[in-house]
Symmetry: none
Subunit: 206 residues, 4 copies
DNA sequence: CATGAATGAGGGTTCATTCAT
DNA sequence: CATGAATGAACCCTCATTCAT
């Protein structure tokens, strides 16, 4: 446990530093200093800077996949799935800002991740969402004249844009704002941005 | 003219190398070599690697702003504006892949750009789009129960997600695919992803 | 102790190289090679070439100040004080040639030291000597119709000229020559260069 | 004449820049800019930075030698010779500060000048003064129990110390101060720093 | 004479990584 | 486990110098 304590200490420090300075500008020494451990101990646990970073990112991808898998398998209502996906990101923003910030600024489209492995991670993320969209189509909830991955791009793109702006501006999030954001995205995603289509105003004022 | 030739040569080489390797992994020597000029000449034109990169990025931001300003001021139909915005990105993808790739992977959310100046660039980009959306609301085309910047996030987020996937996968784009993408985004953005709302299938099969 | 060993090794090597080539023509690699350590170790102990040099120079100034402070506070005879000051420089010349050579050629009047801080160092050096001269005046030993700092300039100027010539010519110094030099400076400084003033020949033949 | 104009313009600019930044920190471009000429023109007149600097320094040495030769050959009174030597430096300080500053900080003891040629320049300077001192001894004015070069060191050392302090502090010089300085140096040099030796107060209050 | 674009060797500095203690 | 001294390859940048125009 003492072992894991130190290791966790280092990981937490890394999250902070990677978030604050970015991968390229983070020194292994910065992490050690922030964690309050010696220089070499970081190398005791992680063989290299890159492996260390991958370790962190990998954990995040897994969390993301797990969440999406859960929604996919779930028998819950479709709109609820969308809501939970959005809420997942917003909750993570509130509780693990560093992690989400790293994901947005260093991973999601970084040139660091323009390898086959990186592309694969990314595609799996979108694929899982595709399947949820396809299921929505099969259930007759979503229109079928648009390919499911188009729906995915629009839905995830919207979420990412929101999160990105929040991350870059280090904005605060409140429960109220969270709900407004969820409603806004779902409203427009499902019913469109056009006026007078008869459902826009019924749900909420965003 | 001979003067600008060399400088342009260097800029083109830089676009290629920055695109291929990313800012952090680009060596000034790589750029010089690719441009077929001496090491020092790069510094004759650009005082540092960072300034050089900024120069490139700044030109891009200006192009982007100009395009959005033009749409904002234009008296054209609203849907046409949306279409031209999307088309702008897709055309740039086709004609200046390197530039757009750099924008996506190194700029749009990069930690490099998490400065006040960087944030300002970003906000101006979103702001201009906000104004177009607000105008759509005033014209009665867009629903008014959603704040304009929400619409912006969804619209631009969708475009960026499309472009990102294309950039990461280095995908080819055809005229046909371009049109399908434009229609897809506009359809879902304006009319929503839901089935049986009566306008989805009329425009095109995507 | 092993720790200080390496550091001391590097400092000694630096003294040699700075002395031989001067600050501007000294390469950090030269120092490392001369010390028999790796390139990076120099930077482990000293953050930059300039800081390293300052560290060396600072130690020297301190030694100099300490010596002058000691003479100032001492209750010894005035002529003895002058003699010990001169002897201090000649002894340092014999035992730490490199250090004194660096002081003469790189510090004492170098443009490197034309900063406020550099000027302050210099003035403190002269100030301490001023006080000793002023004390000599108060004791009635030195003439009072000349400002003490004039006396300082002449006394220290003489020492520096001697040392400079020796440094530039890399001359050997013997005990005999040391004593002759001390006598020569003191004789002329105290009794003047004129003939037939009745005290020139009594002390020694220089 | 137009030719010499440009050349002189460049030399003057060089004096300013070398004085302000020192040899090592002066860029050929700085000189060109200060002179208001193009980069390459400096090279049209001076084949290299070092040759350029030598050219400047060489002119100074010649001026110095000429002055000392003139005093040596002159049949004027000995004390007048000393006075004119001191006055020469003080006048140069007033009229050609840059030149004298460069001499003090970059030449007189610089490691740049620790070559055989440099040492030779220096020795010739001292030698000429030696001869004047020897003549003073032969005339029976100066004491003969001290070797002439000792007298030289003390006399020139005093002058250099005065000038150095003035240069480092960029001090102003007035006619009055000039005379006081001359008297002070000559008084102490000739009659010594000791009190009650019967000639201190007769000349002036310094 | 005059310009300034072009060259490229060289130097200071960084920092991931290793390893003896 | 833990430390931090030690390594050295790599990279950005400088700037004296050349030369075509």
């Amino acid at each position: 446990m003492a072992k894991n304590d130190k290791q966790e200490l280092i990981v937490d420090a890394a999250l902070e530093v990677f978030c604050e300075k970015g991968f390229a500008n983070t020194r292994m020494g910065d992490i050690a200093k922030k964690a309050g451990v010696s220089y070499g101990l970081v190398y005791h646990y992680f063989e290299s800077k890159e492996v260390f970073f991958d370790h962190i990112v990998e954990r995040w991808w897994k969390t993301l996949y797990d969440m999406l898998e859960a929604e996919k398998s779930s028998s819950a209502g479709f709109e609820g799935k969308l809501e939970r996906i959005i809420r997942f990101f917003l909750d993570t923003y509130a509780s693990k800002f560093n992690l989400l910030s790293i994901f947005i600024t260093e991973v999601s489209r970084s040139s660091l991740y323009r390898t086959d492995a990186g592309l694969a991670r990314f595609r799996k993320f979108f694929s899982l969402c595709d399947e949820i969209m396809a299921e929505g189509q099969k259930r007759g909830i979503l229109r079928s004249d648009v390919a499911p991955h188009y729906l995915t791009y629009i839905f995830l793109g919207a979420i990412e844009a929101f999160i990105s702006i929040m991350v870059l501006g280090k904005e605060k999030i409140t429960k109220q704002r969270e709900q407004r954001t969820i409603n806004g995205i779902i409203q427009v995603f499902l019913h469109g941005a056009m006026a007078q289509n008869g459902h826009g105003g019924t749900r909420s004022k965003t």
